[in-house]
Symmetry: D2
Subunit: 300 residues, 4 copies
Amino acid sequence: MDRGWDNWRVSSNERRYVIRLGCPDRAGVVARISGFLAEAGGWIVEAAYHTDPDTNWFFTRQEVRAESLPFGVDELRRRFGEVARELSAKSDWTVTDTGRRRRVAILVSKEGHCLYDLLGRVHSGELDVDITAVVGNHADLAGITRAHGIPFHHVPFPAADPEGKAASFAQLRQLVDAGSPDAIVLARFMQVVPAELCAEWAGRALNIHHSFLPSFVGARPYHQAHQRGVKLIGATCHYVTAELDQGPIVEQDVIRVDHGDSVADMVRKGRDIEKVVLARGLRAHLESRILLHGNKTVVF
Amino acid sequence: MDRGWDNWRVSSNERRYVIRLGCPDRAGVVARISGFLAEAGGWIVEAAYHTDPDTNWFFTRQEVRAESLPFGVDELRRRFGEVARELSAKSDWTVTDTGRRRRVAILVSKEGHCLYDLLGRVHSGELDVDITAVVGNHADLAGITRAHGIPFHHVPFPAADPEGKAASFAQLRQLVDAGSPDAIVLARFMQVVPAELCAEWAGRALNIHHSFLPSFVGARPYHQAHQRGVKLIGATCHYVTAELDQGPIVEQDVIRVDHGDSVADMVRKGRDIEKVVLARGLRAHLESRILLHGNKTVVF
Amino acid sequence: MDRGWDNWRVSSNERRYVIRLGCPDRAGVVARISGFLAEAGGWIVEAAYHTDPDTNWFFTRQEVRAESLPFGVDELRRRFGEVARELSAKSDWTVTDTGRRRRVAILVSKEGHCLYDLLGRVHSGELDVDITAVVGNHADLAGITRAHGIPFHHVPFPAADPEGKAASFAQLRQLVDAGSPDAIVLARFMQVVPAELCAEWAGRALNIHHSFLPSFVGARPYHQAHQRGVKLIGATCHYVTAELDQGPIVEQDVIRVDHGDSVADMVRKGRDIEKVVLARGLRAHLESRILLHGNKTVVF
Amino acid sequence: MDRGWDNWRVSSNERRYVIRLGCPDRAGVVARISGFLAEAGGWIVEAAYHTDPDTNWFFTRQEVRAESLPFGVDELRRRFGEVARELSAKSDWTVTDTGRRRRVAILVSKEGHCLYDLLGRVHSGELDVDITAVVGNHADLAGITRAHGIPFHHVPFPAADPEGKAASFAQLRQLVDAGSPDAIVLARFMQVVPAELCAEWAGRALNIHHSFLPSFVGARPYHQAHQRGVKLIGATCHYVTAELDQGPIVEQDVIRVDHGDSVADMVRKGRDIEKVVLARGLRAHLESRILLHGNKTVVF
């Protein structure tokens, strides 16, 4: 929330400020927040609420027309901070500005379908972000990356060499962090991220797992699916945490398969789900639509 | 809104008041509504908003804990009326009480899949309503209806006899209106409802059409779909209006078919979509989740 | 295959004989089977093939117009037996007659949505079978069953009383087996079937599990799904085997949920998937469309 | 079928010959075809059949291991020609060789999502074809095309200048035909192809239309969908014919939208469907899985 936004853009779309907050539920919380905005003249153009009755926790996301307020995002954040304290909000509340161009780092391996998909969205302007870097443990995707004017870094990860791997992760971390990304996207990266890096990137690193979690955790999920004889295969976009494939789920989808589909067919069909699920998850993340609630997500 | 609710129930679930309103959009409208509720101590447990930028129109639905307010639904409706006037709300705004048991009339013909589905939901308590009457232009479904202790009325509709049809509709109208239903469900009724009845039941009569509208309007949509060679067939739940199959769409869904599916197969597969789409639409209607905006719906 | 079909019906549809067989794959196997049929004048109206390259195993299902053959199903079965032996077919090959009315026993507990759905299909003629018995460990569904002229048997299963349970299962077995059913449908039966009964009913007992297996095996799958925060919930129709929820999967489907769905909402939404998935699986079973291949199914 | 295949490839997968044929249905047709193959030692690895009872027409597609036959594809085609004549097959029967690398021409305008998707599939090897040319009426996609070593031709289409358009189409036709493509893909080309070109490319030109046909024919289908208030939007891949958006449908899919989706949101969500539907349709076409039957398709 306070990583010091400093580069701005004039969007083709209307500029908005986005408030995102979770706090204990009680009567009047909606009125407190909307009253605060109304007092300042804020015009709410999108608002979403969720109450979790099990934990009595309240979540909201509000979009306000930037031009309807007499001050900027920093002042809005400062003033809203008082409301957040008053409501005993969780510390991960944010006030962001859609006018600030988001920054994304992408980690890849050999498989390019997710990267192609993301680059296509960047090219068309649908995903209006700066790709700060693409880092691959193989060099297969250097060409397509550089054709878009984006730096590609090849960082090999030596198999069965823990020390070498640690060094590679240190290098990767540096390359990623240099771009101060809002999101780190593991676009079929295929390496297990060390716990300390998971901690540093907590709430910013999104992985696409090629199964409908919690089914088929770990390696070769399509082989597992084929072995079990399921009639649908899926993909899951989740935040990366130290426990493999156990992070908060952001988005999932499935596609039908049948007895005629080999593992290779499943891999092929699954790709079409993976790339769309990842893109949806990333979009929700960059638009500040996701709130964490324990190991679960609220996606507005 | 003012059809005089007079029978109440204590729900197994928490009782809530539901506010539903559309009005011209402007800054402060959210604050005005939530402020009004907060002042009275109202605890909002579910809230949804939508702004239509094309028409600059604002829509909201709010659920408040009944016990959080020091007065009942009639007083809430009276007081909220002032807010509604102040906001220049459309006249179809409502304040309803989930504690009042809803009433539903069902119109059928020969095909029973939608009726079976609805009765099953009533039996399980999922659809916690009174079925005031089932009226059929054939008697095929009398048995299953009466097995549930629900009155079944057989009103034949003579083909190619306009006067006879008018008399039948007059009788049907009387049977339906006698139960003061909140919803009139055309569960594959197969008769074209006269314009005056559409007008009387405006916003209360839900039809299930067995195609993915606007494709295949009118008679024998599965034959039309088979003829065109589509790869998906669908069903549409919409409000009944005088223009056939042109009313505001509430819910739709589709199912995959292929070259191997005959018209009979499409009819069979389509039934599974029809009944679910109708049930979803009816549920949204009864929970006051639907707002009309021209010929379109906002479904919260 | 040889349980001695003896009661026949004249279907409104064309009568057909259905051959279903698995055997080791080799060149000429399609020609051997279709040549055998052609020699006898058999007119194939539907044919499906599958080769599993991993195991080099071949599967087929063929529908032949009954009237195109100069002999009946028993003679066809006798003659085809020679082909099956020649092809070293698995012993579960069958030759069946669509003109024979199928028989189905249904096991239920308290939840009625699957039973309502099946009875609706029977009533409409879509599921053109005899329901030989409905057996429930609770009596809740006696009324709707008997309203259809179908015998309902209440067999209580005492909790935490192994001997009592064994006696109940013995009684249930007798009630089911008395009807010589082609399918035993566990329509949300909620009791774990003993291994010996699983063995007796092998390949005939279909269960509907209320999760997208292999996720959420065992009890309270919707609670598990809610806990994990998945974005889709599902249902699985599978053959019953001694290992709980591990039998060959016949059919699966899913429905979208989000953070706003409570466990109760998931239960409600899940029902709509459960009943459709079960009905599809049962239909495929009764039409001899399913072949077992290890713990997997080929569904033609 | 007889456009003179002359360039071959050794696939990483097993090489197969594919027979595709439609003929009047009668007893023995399956046996005639499989018997013909068996006599020559042909090992069928995939076989599909369809009978259309309305027209009494039979369709089949068979894949045979190339190495199981003692002759090549030309000799197989010659010999099978006798069977085809004997069965009075439609003249569009084919015998093709999966070992021959397919050739694809792509027509584009400004929107790149389908092109990116196809190029990604080519890059990964999933779509193992030669892209002979990309022709655009705008130059926006020249960069990404040429980054893949594929020639891009910019052919402007002057608006409201029929003669200029005719000249542009003549140039486009030359550029496309020079590559002798097996498929001409209109990847959001946005120009109405003249009737004579439709005729020349009949059965080879695939279009992606951004609606669920037959809904929303013609221009700006997402605007039409938004206007009508549908709850699902779709995409349709179809063969190009002289009558706009009326050609045989190959594949369709849909995605859910709601009242909150603007036209721009629909455009964005629709893209994810368009590209996948087009890719599936193209794959089926290139694998000789599609047979035409009047204005409908059989897709094996």
